[in-house]
């Protein structure tokens, strides 16, 4: 029997699922709050996709700036779908959290006076993005990991969560597969914090790492928690052809141009004030329009940074200089690099309040897998890293406080044994030559790109929904070639695919229902924003027949919706 089930139940007050920035920040804060914490992550924490964030992290602290301005830009960027109470928390607490990161050791770039330097970013009225060259995510992720090491927090790395354990409506823990041994463990917790990041691999291609398969969102969804605003997926304006790897917004923040095949800075047509630094949804649509109207270059537009000079490129944009060289064969000092819009970030996720509480007791969420909602219909660059630390901290704190009042339920190892039976059955499915999970995943990815991409309409979305539902049927027949227990990535791919298919369905169903255009969700058949009918959040609940939608109001405290131009 290659897979085994651990008879022992592992117990921790708080279990954080996900070892990226939000997860580790939550774990640190929960530990500070006195809880016994463990991080469960399907990769070693430093491998998490937070490392790929390049450009920076926002905080309004320059003399002319204020948290209110940051909040307004975020609200406007969200196309008024963001909850303004949550956005206030994000922007008010930004500085405190960034200072704490600095004290932990993040090597933020400085001004002449030795204080934190800021760079301009898209959709922002002022330069308010702190940065470490173009490796900001990596530089922060590693430092927070250092703090995890310092705090001696238990970390179960390369453990893949397969389900949440829910008893009497409360989340009591989870079951996870230890890849190294092929053992299924039952882990009991008084509170579980989901911090599993994004789901970009649902699309083909994507800037996201191969691990970004929405696991936490899917686990929560199937366990009964509400997902929110899943139809809002961000397409980043500058991704490399063909791999889809990210080229930082910092390239435009530093002054890079976007050019069409005629050599025109076409953004002047679409955003006469902010040009290349309009919000991402605006820039991506502009690029897509240029490409579709025949002014593209092999399905791309061109990003030109040559005029920034060697010094700026090699110090502040070194990573993308390397990536362009390695993956596209382009020397950024000498020529522009072809880029196109690509799936980058999921605005929607597990619905939470500002302390990370989901609709299910005992279950918290933070970071990209959560939807607070601070990004609404479109996220601003530099706000995602910020979200991970602000709401990771708050979720960790709230969880640690809650668990003081909650006893362990005394789980048996039955959940692990049940999963063991289920996964063993999966493992026995099919033989060599059977349907491969990658085939199903790619079909899903192509259908999502075509039908639920930068531009959408009812026909395309309906077609995509049909495809996704068809693939859910075929998923039952996918074969697992690797029959072993140890480091079975074939099996893990299958589990991830199941997660992605469930989520893809919520994204398309939500998008089909939303008959308006807002932020990243642009319906050609409903090209205007409709605040009368659609200034509201989409909630998706799991049923065996597919997602059941509900709607919830948007919190508008300070700013009423206005026409949005850049």
């Amino acid at each position: 029997m290659p897979l085994t089930a651990d008879e022992q139940v592992l117990r921790h007050d708080v279990i954080v699922l996900g070892g990226g920035l939000a997860g580790m920040r939550a774990a640190l804060e929960a530990a500070r709050g006195g809880a016994d914490v463990a991080v469960v992550s399907k990769v070693y924490p430093t491998r998490s996709h937070s490392a790929a964030a390049q450009g920076g992290i926002n905080a309004a602290f320059s003399a002319e700036d204020s948290w209110e301005k940051h909040a307004f830009d975020t609200v406007k960027g969200s196309d008024y779908l963001g909850d303004q109470d949550a956005i206030e928390v994000l922007c008010r607490e930004a500085l405190q959290d960034i200072m704490e990161l600095e004290h932990m050791g993040v090597i933020f770039n400085r001004n002449e006076d030795g204080r934190l330097a800021l760079r301009p970013f898209g959709g922002a009225g002022f330069p308010r993005t702190c940065y470490v060259a173009d490796i900001t995510g990596q530089a922060i992720l590693h430092v927070v990991w250092e703090q995890l090491v310092k705090a001696r927090i238990t970390c179960y790395a390369e453990w893949v969560a397969t389900s949440l354990v829910v008893q009497d409506g409360r989340c009591r823990g989870l079951v996870a597969l230890e890849m190294r041994s092929g053992k299924l463990h039952t882990l009991e917790a008084k509170a579980v914090v989901l911090a599993t990041g994004g789901l970009g691999r649902i699309y083909e291609p994507s800037t996201n790492g191969l691990i970004c398969t929405g696991d936490g969102m899917a686990l929560a969804y199937r366990a009964g928690a509400a997902l929110m605003d899943m139809e809002f997926t961000q397409f980043h304006p500058t991704t490399l052809y063909p791999s889809g790897v990210l080229i930082t917004e910092g390239a435009r923040g530093e002054g890079g141009y976007l050019l069409n095949s005629k050599g025109e800075r076409f953004m002047a047509t679409y955003a006469s004030q902010r040009l290349e630094l309009a919000s991402r949804d605006v820039v991506s649509r502009a690029e897509q329009t240029e490409i579709e109207e025949g002014r593209g270059v092999n399905g791309c537009v061109l990003l030109d940074v040559r005029h920034l000079g060697k010094k700026v490129i090699l110090t502040r944009l070194y990573q993308i200089y390397e990536l362009a060289h390695d993956l596209a064969g382009v020397d950024l000092l000498e020529e522009p690099v072809p880029v196109r819009p690509g799936t980058h970030y999921q605005m929607g996720g597990v619905k939470t309040d500002v302390d990370g509480r989901t609709s299910m007791p005992g279950l918290y969420a933070a970071g990209e897998c959560a939807c607070v909602s601070v990004h609404g219909a479109n996220r601003l660059g530099g706000n995602s890293l910020l979200e991970t630390v602000v709401f990771g901290r708050r979720a960790g704190k709230a969880a640690a406080e809650e668990v003081r009042q909650v006893p362990f339920a005394g789980l048996s190892s039955a959940p692990g044994r049940d999963e063991h039976a289920h996964i063993t059955e999966l493992l026995q499915r099919g033989e060599r030559g059977g349907l491969r999970s990658a085939v199903v995943r790619k079909e899903m990815g192509n259908a999502m790109r075509e039908g639920a991409g930068v531009f959408r309409d009812s026909e395309g979305l309906a077609q995509t929904l049909e495809t996704v539902r068809g693939l859910k049927g075929r998923y039952q027949k996918v074969a697992v070639q690797d029959k072993g227990g140890i480091f079975n990535t074939d099996l893990v791919s299958l589990l991830e695919l199941g997660n992605m298919l469930d989520l893809a369905e919520t994204m398309v169903v939500g998008g089909l229902a939303r008959q308006e255009s807002r932020g990243a969700h642009f319906r050609r058949d409903f090209p205007e924003r409709d605040d009368i009918n659609w200034l509201r959040h989409t909630l998706a609940f799991y049923t065996a027949e597919g997602p059941r939608l509900e709607y919830a109001p948007v919190t508008c405290v300070r700013w009423q919706p206005e026409r949005r131009t850049y």
Binding site: P2, V43, Y44, T46, R47, H49, A51, A52, M99, E102, H103, M104, G105, I107, F108, N109, R110, N111, E112, G114, R115, L116, A117, V132, A133, I135, G137, Q138, A139, E146, Q147, V149, K150, R180, G209, L210, I211, P242, S243, V245, Q319, E322, L323, D326, L327, A328, G329, R436, S437, A438, V480, Q481, D482, G484, I486, F487, N488, T489, D490, S493
Partner: protein, 317 residues
């Protein structure tokens, strides 16, 4: 194009597990990296092939492995480059660590060593309300080390680790440098003291392997060399390593060239009887064969200019 890969496989669940090589032929696009090819194999041909990977853009550090004998990131290695002048691209797991399965290695000892250098900032004094003031130069300098994604490539190919598992090895030492060189860290002296011990900075042979294979230009060995200098400056000069470097420099300053007879004497100390005696058999053998440096060491012409350069460098430090 068609690419041929020879992959070292290892299945720990076989009755008597043995590594073996398996050949694959991949229909590859021009832009493919070695990782793209491995993923294609895994997805289309052989789902049992185990490989770690995620970001595809050299930041997560998952896919370090040996390609054509040297450690690197599979996602950073173009298949066309790896195939150049070869019939087959050789793909193997990293060295200096146990293999879990196929290309997946056990990095526990890697992490243990990183942890051993206390890899976290240890500031002294009260925490400021705002940020610590620091020069941009110092932060940009550290970016070069923070570029390390802890992929393990340098450790895989470290020649000292191959003979001595106790060596901290390049990644952990570069990580240590990151703190020693951080103007905000208050534990630099203590760190340098610890790093001067056996297994630390002085055990590096300067073979440059880590500088060569590092996919992120961290140049770990250069960091180790700077740590040596900082350790000597901090007063940790009693190790044989420090004594060797100091003696070498002094002899060079004196005559402009190496004095091979006096170097070991100065390194060990003339009164260090056990070490001096240990030189005797080697010296005798050399004497018998006439393989000895000249007893009377001559300075090079113009040595005064060398001495002046030394003085000028010392004044600048």
């Amino acid at each position: 194009m068609q690419a041929h890969l020879r992959v070292r496989r290892f299945d720990p669940e076989e009755p008597a597990p043995q590594p073996r090589y398996q050949d694959y032929t991949v229909e590859a696009e021009d832009y493919f990296t070695v990782l793209d090819a491995l993923i294609k194999i895994r997805e289309e041909e052989d789902g049992t092939l185990a490989v770690r990977c995620s970001c595809r853009s050299s930041v997560c550090g998952s896919c370090a492995m040996r390609i054509n004998g040297h450690a690197t990131l599979a996602c950073k290695t173009k298949l066309t480059d790896a195939s150049k002048g070869r019939d087959v691209v050789l793909v193997e797991p990293m060295g200096n660590m146990p293999v879990v399965k196929d290309l997946v290695t056990d990095l526990q000892s890697f992490w243990d060593k990183v942890w051993a250098v206390e890899p976290f900032l240890q500031p002294q004094g009260p925490v400021p309300e705002q940020e610590y003031l620091a020069s941009n130069e110092s932060m940009v300098h550290l970016t070069g080390v923070m570029n390390c994604i802890m992929c393990g490539a340098c450790v895989s190919d470290c020649t000292v680790l191959a003979v001595d598992p106790n060596f901290l090895a390049p990644a952990a030492l570069a990580k240590a440098y990151r703190f020693v060189a951080d103007p905000r860290d208050g534990a630099s002296k203590e760190r340098l003291r610890a790093l001067s011990q056996y297994g630390g900075i002085w055990d590096c042979t300067r073979c440059l392997e880590c500088v060569q294979v590092c996919p992120k230009d961290v140049a770990p060995m250069d960091r180790i060399m700077t740590l040596r200098d900082k350790a000597m400056q901090a007063g940790y000069t009693s190790t044989y390593g420090a004594r060797h470097t100091i003696a070498f420099s002094e002899l060079l300053k004196e005559s402009g060239r190496l004095d091979e007879l006096r170097l070991p004497v100065m390194t060990f100390g003339i009164f260090n009887l056990p070490r001096m005696l240990s030189l005797v058999p080697v010296g005798l053998r050399a004497l018998v064969r006439g393989k000895m440096p000249p007893i009377f060491h001559r300075a090079i012409p113009g040595v005064e200019h060398i001495r002046r350069s030394f003085r000028s460098a010392e004044a600048k430090r």
